[in-house]
Symmetry: C2
Subunit: 417 residues, 2 copies
């Protein structure tokens, strides 16, 4: 026990346990990399001794994170190594998402195998904050029960919301599209789940979590995730970490002034980026007949894609125009942040082939630092599913960052956690 455990301020002191945690994470990270890894090989790549690696690997196996894949390196002289690989089949991370017109749940094990993936239509505005969280809790309870039946332990839940979230408390301060204000999502969710919800619950902005999902797929140090649906938003990753800003309001790209002579924006000014590349703008310009039809951004995106694939000139032209303005907006981000990649989510993902060429053209002509600062612009492979994936992976990453978060399980040489 610490003396006066109360008065401590700032970061906690460093102790031996931190050394262990760090080295467990280091070894686990190496094992996650593709290719065979024996204990001896891990010792060589990590710089730890074989004895230490053996001890660390034993603990990772006891925690259910690693298993011996029995196979052995052949063809070379010497005793063959016992290969290790990521296990994680008995540990799951849950991602949730609250959208304006749907709820989503996705469960993955720690090796990223999909255990369940559901998406149900739901009018969150109509249901109100309490109703929406209750409905989400029910979906979650089902998922938890299902995983429990399969003897899979859930290590945490990551919730994506279309608004500003306080990470520390799990409260949504403000979500314009849901008409929410100061909703204690994490608390209410935990409360509704009862004992079943006795796991870590993390709430974050949808664009942030999407950016993390993309970052995990393609770990460039600096990544910009640009998305559009009802609004336009961005998730920024700088040097491997989310850039949240002083009060959590980073990534407000929707109202970048790109065309002062342009049309009026809801914010009161003219020519904001949103008026050029927002979903409403493309539909108006490229497919006006859909204006009052389906309200779901995902369906609209699919419709646009279909028409583009069919070669409809009006849609193609509108998308090319979107690409141009997207390139202008992107070039601002590139000149400021110099990311290693720009990933397009939301409806952009569906129509990427029709907007990226124009965007790249524009970016090339506007990148101040020239070729050295130009990065690729790609459509997200996850599309509208990025946020819920990000929710799950941010939870999974907690275990990879601190493997002691995975409880020890029974086995030879059982010990207490």
């Amino acid at each position: 026990m610490r003396e006066h455990g109360d008065a401590t301020t700032g970061p906690s002191p460093v102790d031996q346990a931190a050394v262990r945690r760090g080295n467990l994470a280091r070894v686990l990270a190496e094992i996650r990399r593709p290719g065979g890894h024996s204990r001896a090989a891990l010792a060589a790549t990590t710089g730890l001794t074989k004895a230490t690696v053996s001890s660390l690997v034993a603990e990772l196996i006891r925690r259910g994170l690693v298993r011996e894949s029995g196979l052995r390196q052949e063809g070379v002289v010497g005793r063959p190594g016992r290969l290790l690989e990521l296990d994680g089949a008995s540990l799951a991370a849950l991602g949730l998402e609250i959208g304006a017109n749907y709820l989503a749940v996705r469960g993955v094990d720690l090796a990223d195998r999909v255990l369940l993936d559901r998406r149900v239509g739901f009018d969150a505005v109509r249901a109100g904050a309490a109703g929406a969280v209750d409905e989400l809790a029910e979906l979650t309870a089902d998922a938890l029960a299902e995983l429990r039946r399969a003897r899979i332990e859930v290590v945490g839940i990551g919730v994506a919301v279309p608004g500003l979230a306080d990470i520390a408390t799990g409260t949504v301060h403000y979500a314009p599209n849901l008409l929410w204000q100061d909703v204690p999502v994490a608390d209410r969710l935990r409360e509704r789940l009862g004992t079943a919800g006795d796991v870590a619950v993390l709430v974050d902005n949808e664009a942030n979590l999407s950016a993390l999902a993309e970052f995990r797929r393609d770990p460039v140090t600096d990544l910009v995730y640009l998305t559009a649906g009802i609004g336009v938003g961005a998730g920024l990753i700088a040097d491997g970490a989310l850039l949240r800003g002083a009060t959590g309001f980073s990534g407000e790209v929707g109202h970048l002034p790109v065309d002062p002579a342009g049309g009026a924006c809801g914010c009161g000014r003219h020519g904001c980026l949103e008026t050029k590349i927002g979903l409403a703008a493309v539909v108006r310009a490229g497919a006006p007949d859909l204006l009052d039809a389906p309200r779901d951004p995902e369906e609209l995106a699919a419709a646009l894609r279909h028409r583009a694939e069919a070669g409809q000139p009006r849609v193609l032209e509108a998308l090319d125009d979107v690409g141009r303005w997207l390139g202008i907006g992107t070039s601002i981000l590139v000149n400021l942040l110099n990311p290693g990649a720009v990933v397009l989510g939301g409806y952009f993902a569906a129509v990427a082939p029709y907007v990226v060429p124009a965007a790249m053209r524009e970016l090339r002509s506007r990148a101040v630092a020239g070729e050295a600062a130009i990065c690729r612009i790609t459509g997200s492979a996850f599309g509208f599913g990025a946020a819920v994936r990000g929710g799950a992976s941010v939870i999974a990453d907690r275990v990879f960052d601190d493997p002691t978060a995975a409880r020890l399980r029974a086995g030879p040489g059982v010990e207490s956690a």
Copy 2:
């Protein structure tokens, strides 16, 4: 010794030494905070035990970073504590700067007391890269000799350059205002200094180092440093660390498109921020008679300030206009990065009272997230001296981050490093 010390990849493994380093830094950071600190108080605030704190403090004293200030807490019952304070008088950090028309050297001890501060006019373009570095080396050698005579050990040298620097190698890739390309500044400096230069040499961009200097003065987690002289640049700090981007080209704010209908810019487009708030633009608009007069930005800034203080309407109007465009540019940064503070350097610092009101007005009307995202805009207290201060403080901070970087010195219980 590690086995196969060659094949290691990624971060080095965590060991006990890292624990020690971390806790030394933790305790030292606490001692740097104002107010009296006894060993017992440090134990309480850090969460370490008294025994450990005693051991850590003893080491910090042996390394010359801390001293007992003899004074003792009075008036309360119990044995009075021996107060500790930052020493660092025998350790110095050197900041250097290469400008287009000056060279600067600043030496501070680790308690940030100024030991020397020189600035000499020098035409770096005319002298060429080799000539400029040689001249800088001579200034540095003098400074080093002077400090050595005073028995002060120099722990490192931080060099600010107006261009893109490769931190790892200490090479300047490209410095447009100096007409430099691929100049190995650190290597050449070390070479010229000979054995005297057997210290860490770090080279970084002038705006980055300035941002760090401002950040040290006012440690908000997210800070934007905006500067203008010949060009316009920015140094961005996100979550306490410099935001460098994937290839080092972050902070290119000079060519933000703010007025497509505006005048032509050197970059080939129209209405770039630089054409609105660059020094050339203000002088042209507010004091055209100075256009071909003194070429030094610092003198021009002083002249503008004088005229503004004297109430010259033309200058005041030009500066107000600069403030407006500055506010527009700043609002883009604020909406994207949500900084906790925006600090104005370069010539802005001299005329801050005349540009900030208009800038704040513009920012207020354009911050998408409203009051919650609005931050203060202030003139730098360091002005043109920010970069050289940043160079010194980035070196000093290395010691604070890893106190074992300060060599052990003779004393009771001498040990080897």
